[in-house]
């Protein structure tokens, strides 16, 4: 008899991970179904993604794999869908590391007539729910250290405050993109509490991407990022609904790409036209593989990806 190929052995060893992922997916779907969200599926290959200065798309046919399902989901918001979610694959070129894989699973959900704080309440309830389901409690151990997804333990820190405290400057006052990224990973992120979810909130306007500026403070945008133990888990916005401002930001992102010698991306005119119809909304993208990594007590994404690439 021929021995089974090594690949089969390797995959068989991933049985526990396959089961955990299936349970996580089921839990996420039940969570949103119970709250009246509609699950949607939007195309994986697109003629245009949202241009972003630091996100490279993977070419596919005449277009690209989606870097996020965001634009299509916003067209659904504009079409009158008020609460929608999607769980599916996205791809980003060149991202490979302990917490990066070029193909990964994003969970995105959107609420019409709501903003980033309503999305924050959803996120708190969701994380408590998945921890309860997969670990039997909101408090559990990740890589030998206690962590808690208990809703009352979440911490919130304004980006400006965190930077003033840990890096000595306010990025909303005089923005410097290079210094921001470097200080974020070397000074701010390492200083965040590691045992509970931490939300960095209200980003400098130049980092708004697809978020609206704060009505009473245009130097800052209504955007938050969720961290757990140094791992960035999610990015949420009060969505920008002004087509002219959105177009200007896409053009600016392309200009930054061009400055680095990278190709600009085409603009999605269907999306930009639909944006005028979109109600004020809140939305979020959450990295499902990273969440699974923490819940499965894995050290890196490699531990929860049976089919690795590179």
């Amino acid at each position: 008899m021929r021995p089974p190929p090594a690949d089969s052995d390797a995959l068989r060893a991933q049985r526990r991970i396959l089961e955990l992922r299936a349970r996580l997916n089921e839990t996420i779907r039940r969570f949103f179904r119970e709250r009246g969200f509609l699950e949607v599926d939007t195309p994986v290959v697109l003629p245009a993604n949202a241009p972003e200065a630091n996100i490279d798309a993977v070419p596919a046919g005449a277009g690209w794999f989606r870097t996020s399902p965001e634009l299509a989901m916003k067209r659904l918001l504009a079409a009158g869908c008020e609460k929608i979610f999607q769980l599916g694959p996205v791809a980003r070129a060149g991202e490979r590391g302990r917490w990066h894989h070029p193909e990964f699973t994003l969970l995105e959900w959107y609420r019409a007539h709501a903003g980033y704080l309503e999305i924050l309440a959803d996120a708190k309830a969701l994380l408590a729910c998945v921890a309860q389901e997969l670990r039997g409690a909101t408090d559990f151990v990740w890589q030998g250290k206690p962590v808690s997804f208990a809703q009352e333990l979440w911490e919130k820190a304004a980006v400006s405050q965190a930077f003033i405290q840990h890096a000595g400057w306010d990025p909303a006052h005089k923005f410097d993109p290079d210094r921001f990224d470097l200080d974020l990973v070397t000074r701010v992120e390492p200083a965040l509490p590691a045992d509970r979810p931490v939300v960095l909130i209200d980003y400098p306007a130049p980092l708004a991407a697809l978020a609206r500026r704060k009505p009473d403070d245009p130097a800052r945008a209504e955007r938050w990022e969720l961290y757990l133990g140094g791992v960035e888990l999610a990015n949420a916005y009060s969505e920008l609904t002004d087509p002219a401002e959105q177009r200007a930001r896409f053009i600016e992102a392309n200009a930054q790409r061009a400055k680095r010698g990278e190709k600009p991306y085409p603009l999605d005119e269907t999306f930009l036209a639909a944006l005028a119809q979109m109600p004020p909304s809140g939305g979020i993208a959450l990295g499902v593989d990273r969440l699974l990594m923490i819940l499965a007590d894995a050290d890196s994404l490699d531990g929860v990806l049976p089919f690795r690439n590179g």
Partner: protein, 189 residues
């Protein structure tokens, strides 16, 4: 010559502000909408200290001019150790601090790898194993071949090494220069 951040990997030797470093650890990071970066731990090859350094994907990193040459240990003078290229008779000196604990295992004519940074001798690496004579130890118990019980013994440089009970003064032993530990007894001749 220069590297880009994408070339970074464990073991890569780089130059920063005129100092050669070796990358001992690195991790790809990319905050949310931010740029790709490489968080590295780097070791100063001149003094051995380590530090953290984060490079952006767009950073250019200098490649240090490092050469390696096989040279024989010649003699010690004060706190300097002199090595010689047996073909060209070129001599270089290395300070005791740079040679470190390896100095205990040097033997005359022992061939070592000397690293040069910008043509100046920077460090030396001994062969992994050297043979040394036991100069001083309690007499061995004949027939006791246990290797798990150790007693202290001194070699010519005054270095004290744990050896099995059966080792006697005048015996030759193999020592691992990386750990400073006894490996085995050696019969010479």
């Amino acid at each position: 010559m220069s590297y880009t951040a994408a070339d970074l990997r464990k073991g890569l030797k780089i130059e920063l502000e005129g100092i050669p470093y070796e990358v001992t650890d690195f991790e790809f990071v990319k905050p949310g909408k931010g740029q790709a970066m490489y968080k590295c731990r780097i070791k100063n090859m001149l003094i051995g200290s380590t530090m953290d350094k984060t490079f952006r994907a767009v950073d250019k990193i200098d490649q240090p001019n490092i050469e390696s040459k096989t040279m024989a240990f010649s003699y010690k003078e004060g706190d300097k150790y002199v090595f010689m290229d047996n073909k060209t008779y070129e001599q270089v000196e290395l300070h005791e601090d740079v040679v470190g604990d390896q100095r205990f295992f040097l033997l005359e004519d022992l061939e070592c790898e000397v690293l040069f940074f910008n043509h100046r001798a920077m460090s030396v690496t001994l062969p992994s194993f050297v043979i040394k004579e036991i100069k001083e130890t309690e007499p061995g118990a004949r027939g006791n071949t246990a290797t798990n019980v150790l007693k202290p013994a001194k070699i010519d440089t005054g270095y004290e090494v744990g050896v099995p009970i059966f080792i006697n003064q005048g015996d030759f032993i193999r020592i691992d220069t990386r750990t400073g530990k006894y490996v085995e007894r050696v019969k010479l001749g």
